[in-house]
Symmetry: D2
Subunit: 296 residues, 4 copies
């Protein structure tokens, strides 16, 4: 299959279930909502080495938020057990401390809920208020009063949506991945948790050549610079650089939509020559997100 002259590999991304919470952060202006969202979703690229995976879902206008202020929606992803604590800590450390922010439950209809009890921070100076039909707490703080919800929904979403942008040189691959990342930012219900939405280094579980235990090492099959030294390389001929887009979403449909939007954007970038995706041959994850189906 070709799209805009770029080969689309006949393969699939392999997705896994992950629990997802969506937190709506509002502030006096977009800029201040974004500052809090950026801090709250930092150090959260991969569940392997970070406490969770998190990213920015998108901007919200005043029409779309409970308090009528501009907002940024973030998604935090982890195991069902770890998720409540991660949401709690990231709100407490990164949003409650940020200027002019409020937080709201971005999954009000989720059946699974948890309560982060942030109002104890008020030391009994806090009070209940209703904002846009939401039960909130008002907590006196230095800037004035913090207002926010503390019950959040969580849903069983999909992690590990992905595709590779391969190109004739590194800068073409990079801007292809950038265009893909920008496009995915506009797809509701999805995030890319890596820096700037782009992954520069892929890993395999364990090590082939070191004798002592290492949790993860470079995935040499996808390394263009050692293509000639790796007999089972998966780097197509002529490809000099690869970036991966990794997508988590609230459901399979959202992840597929994001993959399609990202791939369509990447193939518009001159020098991008090949699109593929990563999987474990279907042995591990229940979701097979097939590139040709997604783009059909």
């Amino acid at each position: 299959m070709e799209l805009n002259g770029v080969t689309i590999d006949n393969t699939f991304a392999e997705g896994f279930p992950i629990w997802v919470s969506r937190v709506i952060i509002t502030a006096v202006t977009r800029e201040y909502a974004m500052k809090a969202a950026t801090e709250a979703t930092g150090f959260a690229t991969s569940a392997i080495g970070c406490p969770c995976e998190a990213g920015i879902e998108g901007y919200l206008s005043g029409d779309e938020t409970p308090d009528g202020r501009p907002g940024v929606s973030i998604m935090i992803c982890a195991s069902k057990k770890k998720l409540p604590e991660q949401v709690m800590e990231r709100i407490a450390e990164c949003v409650l401390t940020a200027a002019t922010t409020s937080v709201f439950n971005g999954l009000p209809e989720a059946e699974e809920k948890f309560d982060i009890k942030i109002h104890f921070f008020g030391d009994k100076f806090e009070s209940k208020v209703e904002i846009g039909g939401r039960a909130c707490w008002k907590i006196p703080i230095m800037e004035g009063d913090y207002v926010g919800e503390e019950v959040f929904g969580m849903v069983k979403g999909v992690a590990g949506g992905n595709f590779f942008v391969m190109a004739e040189n590194q800068m073409a691959a990079l801007l292809g991945a950038q265009a893909a990342s920008d496009a995915i930012l506009e797809v509701k219900g999805t995030i890319t948790s890596f820096p700037g939405g782009i992954v520069a280094s892929g890993s395999k579980v364990g090590s082939k050549n070191y004798k002592f235990p290492i949790p993860a090492t470079t995935n040499e099959q996808y390394c263009p610079s050692i293509r000639d030294k790796v007999p089972d390389t998966k780097v197509p001929e002529g490809v000099k650089s690869i970036y991966e887009l990794v997508i988590n979403g609230v459901d399979e449909a959202a992840v597929k939509k994001a993959m399609a939007a990202g791939i369509k954007a990447a193939v518009k970038v001159p020098g991008v020559t090949f699109i593929s995706a990563g999987n474990y041959e279907g042995k591990l994850g229940p979701f097979q997100l097939k590139l040709h189906e997604i783009l059909a």
Copy 2:
């Protein structure tokens, strides 16, 4: 003491020792260095709830980096014991995965050093290279080759530099704090670890009114909205909002310089009326950063 018509309280910020590493992140353009730096310093506002405190020290031009590329310098702060692991994880998860980045030791003359052994990620495909006189490892990854140092220095720096920007209303306090944060960004050797460099909510250890254990609750003495209910309030009359700037630095001189730059910027903002600082009456921290001395 008055500065630009704003009262400067006769008090001091109380600083504590903290161990600090500086990591120089370079990339193909400033923008990509900043993306990695932002991810690597996220979820790192306060050592109380985050694994470390981290922030962006500033931009570096190609003249100032070992590989001649544009860069961003970040500082990561923690206990001596925890710091190496935090530097390791944040580089491994947030910089090695980011597009086009390299990392270099930003404290090459520090006596204390640690080694993060990131080259094992190369699974023996890695090799040694020298970049700008630095011993680096070149590791094949998807985008091409990652290049970076893995021995980093750490110094005993100063945490807890701080001052309060108080104003006649919230928006004046906010822009006063913003001007301060911008000014501090230009002072070498310092960071502000909170979102956008500004702290909206201060805390005290434990709780006064709840009977069960809570690690920290709102510092009601600095809450303008309940000023009338708190007999020992520290909110000056007429002050309606307070933001705090919290500064970590490589040494006391740098923290003082940042405090001075921040305060001078804040008092230029119309509506800012009072500057103070937080301390534990000298009982805990060895550094007393006196506002009047700093500004003299």
Copy 3:
């Protein structure tokens, strides 16, 4: 009338007809489309002193552009006679010269059209191509090939939509205006042509106190700092600062929608106390955009 506790003056903005073209600028990434759009809409705040009025309407995703690349939509406004030349010059100087850009007619259904003949720049090396159903020219340039339309539509739109954000101090007024400007950016069919979308200084035609001719001087009736010296001041008591939002749109409905969105955003900002609008008592402009009706 009150909105969120803020008084809404019982008055109207007075609008005038203006001719409007919409130009869709696409590029390899959003960032590069925005760089071109920013240059192309610069020095275009007010038709009084600038060659035209221009601004950014908003971002477009790949789904919304003829070539499937990310884009920014801009609007250029002038008299019917001057508009074609302004569109021509701003595309030729600021978009054709910008990296990776294409331009498309953003008003394909407008009855009035004009042709900017940019293909002569190709010196007969140019050729016709069709992109997304649009008749375009491909012109060889240094970066590769520039591709774009050269026939543009124009419609008789509405200029002079406006409202004033008044507050208890300057920083509250500023962030109120900022929130309004951010909100208006999301309303299709409208622009704010002033720097950052905010107007800090209002003018009246001519001069009262100087004897020689001056085209425009400060509108002292709206100057809080000299409120006591101006008997017919229109500054409400307690107001210390005023910013104006000035809106142009493709039609009256769009301007009204933008005014409503902006006012709703501004009144959420603490310290904003009064919203009004500017008019010539209905003597000049055919459109009376009444605040109470717009917000009903």
Copy 4:
């Protein structure tokens, strides 16, 4: 000559005298200074089609500005005759109207001065004030009081500093040019007036193939896509895309420094293969900025 493996052509950029004013714009925060500076330097890429050439020289910290606020320095370039009017109009339309701004003369030691008489806008409500040793006017406006200088210096500077970034494909050329543009932003005394600092299309005077008069057409000698059709092409073999950096400066030394900084940055970008510069064989401009000398 080679630099980082990239060929540096043995040629020179040909510079011309141009008159330059430097305007320092300060504001409550960096962000607001930048908004005004962006508007004031828009639609000013090339003196051929724009009223002037203008660009952002760089940020200034509070230490570097007359009023101690953060600032942005811009440079406006035109003929000696046209320059005062351009400075006047861009300040009046784009800075006086922008939130919280002041302007100061950035060339206080220049022998040539001009007076833009902006204080008449105050309609006799204005008054003289001294700020940081500068004679300023305070003019009541909507936001409060505008304060700024109105006498500006101008110097005979150098226009037309330039170099070409050539690469094996378009995205490599683009990011090479971007790295160069970022580096030049840090060189005092210089600007790049084109969108984002990068020029995508070069022109020659007049036309070769059209019979009627056209002021400028594409410079086919530097068009990679028609390399095979142009016998006297200057596109080296293997080069698929070219971007130009065009630099104006306060003097020849500054322009040379910017060219060196830009070239050194560009050659670090993978895929960039060749650096050259544009000239008229020394027939027109008095300055010959030789690449090999600049980089020696």
